[in-house]
């Protein structure tokens, strides 16, 4: 979110998949739940994110069994005040996504400049032009086989982590 010296702040957003796909990524439909205070030592981040996810995990444990919330009813009048009904609301976490800088931290794996930076297999890459290369003149962060076949891991031709 911003970076000042040795600290930076990363936002954690929960995307509401119960909304239609064309509006689910709007700011009004996103649940921003946390701002992670990230510390860095040199060029490496040294923040343990699992500590900061404890309140979120506690709330998901409550939401798994359902909580009673007053919900709005009266579905066709956007202006007038609507009436409410008590309803048990459950929420579940389907999947997680992160960008390339946050993904190694959340998965406790090596970041892309490392030799074993492919998150799906044990192929060793080599350094070329400042990045890690996995062959075929493609500078993918994952090895080519896993990059091509990431949607169906079982068809990968080599050992999977």
């Amino acid at each position: 979110m911003f970076k000042a010296g040795q600290t930076s702040v990363w936002p954690i957003a929960l995307t509401n998949l119960s909304v239609g796909p064309h509006v689910r990524h709007r700011y009004g439909n996103l649940f921003f739940v946390a701002l992670l205070p990230m510390l860095r030592s040199g060029s490496k981040l040294k923040t343990d994110i699992n500590v900061f996810l404890e309140p979120l995990a506690r709330e998901f444990a409550l939401l798994e069994n359902g909580i009673s919330l007053p919900c709005a009813i009266g579905d066709h009048d956007p202006v007038e005040a609507t009436s409410f009904t008590i309803r048990t609301v459950k929420a579940k976490l389907l999947f997680a996504s992160a960008d390339l800088r946050a993904l190694p931290i959340f998965t406790s794996m090596a970041s892309p400049p490392a030799y074993y930076s492919c998150h799906m297999c044990n192929t060793k890459g080599w350094h070329h032009a400042g990045t890690t290369t996995f062959g075929n003149n493609h500078q993918y962060v994952s090895c080519v086989s896993c990059f091509v076949t990431h949607s169906n891991v079982s068809t990968s031709s080599h050992a999977i982590r």
Binding site: M1, A13, L17, V23, G28, A34, L63, I67, L69, I73
Partner: protein, 356 residues
């Protein structure tokens, strides 16, 4: 006529008077017009009768003739048009005219206004408050409306805090000579003060104190001075925590989401109501019942086509027996400056267009 509408038009007229004074025009005729309007409103409230706007224009025209005899050197035709427009807006309701509504100009406040001083306009506003024409709650509503519009302006155009401070200072510098002190006290002078006013409507924040070595989180109220695991001090010598973690509880957000108004066309913001609570509710406008049934009511694609997460084999395998009306969320974390871009954000430029 509602008192709020009257006060808003009166405030707009006072702002125009201040602008006219800045351009060197005389105030006497303009202030007298404003006084006449208040008198008409008083008579209207006393008699309980409405007027056609033609009658109001007659009244203002008659007043113009009288003033033109006094001061013929003015050349404010532009402002004259504005006043007629306002008259047609104020006297929109139909009804019969009463020729006895013109009150004699022997009011001491009106006499002070005829001096051509801006203090007279303020005295007129205070007089209107005293006689009950404008209630104190109306001032507060106007202040809330100004604040809410500024808040929406900041949200829509991603204005910085310094810009908001400058806008509020500009408002104060403009409104000091023309608005009563009650309203000026209600208007904050900085964005920080404005946020304290609307802080009760913002999402709940839970503050945690973090161990410097990231051993554990402690709630701010019950945090010990030292970490029980590593012995590091959690607070500095000044009493502030060494590291602080702001967490916005998900259940509180779900409560707001469930209680928000139902909008049949999801994604369109309803701005018909302008109170602060409604606009903040519109900012998180959600189609709850419509959207929460999205997973079960969406059209089913062909078996070999995946259009959403609900079509995947993994979802059908994991959540086969779950209630389709559950709230499904996906966790995402992003590094970098995704929220600091003003023209296009990461979410709008990449994710939304891709999903469209």
């Amino acid at each position: 006529m509602k008192h709020t509408a009257l006060y808003e038009h009166a405030a707009a007229e006072r702002i125009r008077i201040a602008m006219a004074r800045r351009s060197g025009k005389k105030l006497s005729r303009l202030a007298a017009m404003a006084t006449t309007r208040v008198e008409i409103e008083q008579a209207h409230d006393a008699t309980g009768m409405d007027f056609k706007h033609e009658d109001a224009e007659k009244l203002f025209a008659e007043h113009d003739v009288n003033d033109a005899q006094v001061d013929t050197s003015e050349s404010d035709s532009d402002f004259h048009g504005d006043v007629q427009l306002d008259a047609s807006m104020d006297f929109r309701d139909g009804g019969d005219a009463d020729p006895s509504i013109i009150i004699a100009r022997d009011d001491p406040h009106a006499a002070s206004i005829d001096d051509g001083d801006a203090v007279g306009v303020v005295a007129m506003a205070e007089h209107a408050v005293e006689v009950g024409l404008v209630e104190q709650s109306d001032l507060q509503q106007l202040c809330e409306r100004i604040l809410s519009n500024l808040f929406v302006l900041k949200v829509d155009h991603v204005l910085s805090e310094s810009v908001m401070n400058g806008l509020l200072r500009l408002l104060h510098s403009i409104l000091v000579p023309v608005l009563p002190t009650e309203l000026l006290d209600l208007l904050p002078r900085s964005f920080k003060a404005a946020m304290t006013i609307v802080s009760g409507l913002l999402p709940t924040v839970t503050q945690y104190v973090v161990c410097p070595n990231e051993c554990k989180l402690f709630e701010r109220q019950t945090a010990p001075p030292l970490c029980p695991k590593c012995g590091a001090s959690l607070f500095s010598t000044a009493g502030s925590p060494v590291r602080q973690y702001n967490y916005f509880p998900l259940i509180e957000r779900l409560k707001l989401w469930c209680k928000s108004k139902v909008c049949p066309s999801s994604g369109t913001h309803s701005r018909s109501s302008h109170s602060l609570t409604d606009i903040l509710a519109d900012l998180r406008v959600q189609a709850f019942l419509r959207s929460i049934q999205f997973a079960s009511s969406r059209p089913q694609p062909p078996p070999d086509l995946i259009t959403d997460v609900y079509d995947s084999d993994a979802y059908k395998w994991f959540f086969a027996g779950c209630d389709p009306n559950d709230v499904n969320v996906a966790f995402s974390v992003h590094s970098g400056e995704i929220l600091s871009l003003k023209t296009a954000t990461c979410f709008h430029s990449n994710f939304c267009h891709r999903s469209d």
